[in-house]
């Protein structure tokens, strides 16, 4: 999926932080808005918001309700993201924002659709414990080509994406998430919900998480704590986790019918001791990967209520289970 030549439609808006103005119509590049918040407030239920290269500074959290917005940056190589050269970087004042974007449906329903494409998020702007993207009860969200970067030298307790919910809603759901080629540097990548609810059919492919902090990452790169109904993680690389932190942490404790999780083709490096590449609790799991390095405990942990098949090179397993072959 590349950038494409489409006519401006009723669903298209344009944001240019250099030459745009919020006094413009936002409907062409020559009439581009200056700010993302202006675009978010002016889109209808559906919208494609095209971001020009440059730093898009967010002054306050951008929350929208019952909208299916596609935020689309230019397709530049990921290596260019770090300096934002040629890319679209979303930033803000350091440690001032709970999130950059939050999508939320009306109570009792779900959002169907929306996504983030080719954006880099400056996680220095996000307050500890929060996330760049706080998506609530969102089905069919797509995140691709995005990168979350926290300041070097320290691992920040924030996530690129949190799939959350409103526990009091009638139909909480966070299904059909697709993430492709996303990265986290010195922060977490994806956080699943921790309250009641469910999600089906997550497809997470091409994930990368790394840290240059002394002691490594202080939180998992991928963490869920809810019932899973088919979550596939394939093609990942995770490195430099901290002590007692698993790179991938799936915890289904308390879920009556544990659900399926499949993790294949991921690699790990420099995992701190003690802990694991993958930690599973009360899951039905299939896990197979080639192994990793620098972890004294092993690469997979499964608690006594986890069943499934797990295969990594011999001597890499630990924990109470694992009816697999090694």
């Amino acid at each position: 999926m590349g950038w494409m030549s489409l006519p401006s439609t009723n669903y298209d808006y344009y944001v240019d932080p250099v030459s745009g103005s919020d006094s413009n119509t936002g409907r062409t590049w020559t009439q581009a808005y200056a700010t993302l918040s202006k675009a978010a407030s002016n889109t209808g239920t559906y919208g494609r918001v095209w971001l020009a290269p440059g730093d898009h500074t967010v002054a306050s959290e951008i929350a929208y309700q019952n909208k299916r917005i596609q935020w689309i940056g230019p397709p530049v190589p990921a290596s260019q993201f770090e300096s934002s050269t040629g890319g679209a970087r979303v930033t803000g004042t350091a440690n001032s924002l709970s999130y950059f974007f939050s999508g939320q449906p009306p109570s009792g329903s779900n959002i169907f659709g929306g996504g983030f494409h080719n954006l880099v998020f400056d996680m220095n702007a996000i307050t500890t414990g929060n996330q760049a993207l706080w998506m609530r009860q969102t089905n069919y969200l797509r995140v691709e080509g995005c990168k979350a970067i926290a300041p070097t030298g320290t691992h920040k307790n924030v996530y690129l994406l949190t799939m959350d919910e409103v526990p009091t809603a009638n139909s909480p759901d966070k299904s059909w998430l697709t993430c492709v080629d996303i990265e986290a540097y010195n922060c977490g990548l994806i956080e699943g919900p921790s309250a009641a609810g469910g999600f089906n059919g997550w497809s997470l492919r091409g994930l990368r998480g790394d840290s240059d902090a002394t002691g490594g990452a202080t939180m998992p790169y991928v963490k869920t704590n809810d019932k899973l109904q088919g979550c596939a993680i394939s093609g990942g690389f995770f490195a430099h986790t901290g002590s007692s932190v698993a790179a991938i942490d799936i915890d289904e404790t308390g879920v009556t019918n544990s659900r399926t999780v499949s993790i294949v083709g991921v690699a790990f490096e420099n995992l701190a001791s003690p802990y694991y590449g993958v930690s599973l609790k009360n899951c039905i799991a299939f896990v197979a990967f080639p192994g990793g390095a620098s972890d004294s405990d092993g690469l997979i942990y499964g608690d006594s209520s986890t069943t499934g098949y797990m295969a990594v090179p011999s001597t890499a397993l630990a924990g109470s289970l694992v009816p697999g072959v090694n």
């Binding site: 950038w3 240019d16 559906y46 659709g113 059909w176 019918n257 399926t260 299939f286 098949y309």
Partner: protein, 349 residues
Amino acid sequence: MARSTTLVFGAGALVTGGDLFNATVPLGTIAATVTTPAPSIFVATSGVNSRFLDGVSGSDSNDGTTWGQAWLTPAYAAAQAPDSTRIWVAPATYTISSMISYSKRLWWEGPKMPANQIQAQVGSAWFEASGSPAYYFDISSAAGGGFIEVGFSNRPVTSGIVRSTSVTDLKFDNVYTHPTNPVSNSQDYHKPLLTVEGSGDNSRLEFVDCDAHSSPLIYAHLIGVARDWRIVSPRCQSDVSTTTSHIDLAGDFDGLYLEACYLEKTTLPAIIVDMSSVPTARRVTMVPGGFERLSGNSYGIALYGCQLDVGFAGGQWSANGLFYGSTDCTGYVMSPTSILKGALVAGVN
């Protein structure tokens, strides 16, 4: 909109890459004003022809070469577009009254709305049928082409969405089907998104991130050969149990790879691969994500006559188990204990 930027350089060179800003400034202490073009983010793909289809503002009297000259109807676009053409499809509902047949490389690419966003149709490239065509598109004897970010209603057609006969290098990316729009029903219409048939070469299918609601995804019963199929993240859900398999393959599939699926609510196996008629069993590699709500005598996966390498996470609500392998299958199957049935499985469980 042009950008003017005054740059002062010492030693070194400024190279601003990418499609948007292309400027290389030579070394030396200079002051320069670099005027870059408007951030024409919409860069047409090079290497293939481009044509444009606009179901709102287009006209079949146009030449189709620009948005201002966009065609109106898919049938006219298919007939007029030269071989090896990407047809950019503007957001609109395109009504097709009779099957569109062609034998050339056409890529139909919709707006950057993930196909599943088409559940509400608005803002997307959505194909509906009037009357009862067998298929929307019937492609034969081509080397390339496909569908990207478009959606289809699968209810009015009698047989399926796209039929492909002897087409190699076919691509489906972010394609979505649903019986009605907006979503409002709980019926299953059993119309495959992709039907592959015929006695020719159907190699190198790439089928990624395609979702179907209340319908199968792929039906392929081949006389010919299909090499190197790659099926990634196929997802199919239904409000009611479907009486068809979501992926139903029979014939000579030489090198079949499936990854990260989520398939639910079938009374037949969610995935069937039958190579029992093939003299030399072929290799099948599957690492699906999971299955849910399989009912009756169903399985998640049923394989016949395959050399296989299968690993998956398991699932629930399957009376029989999640895997069946016939006696002529060989290979290795990894899955949770107690969910295997069938005659084989030279794996460990």
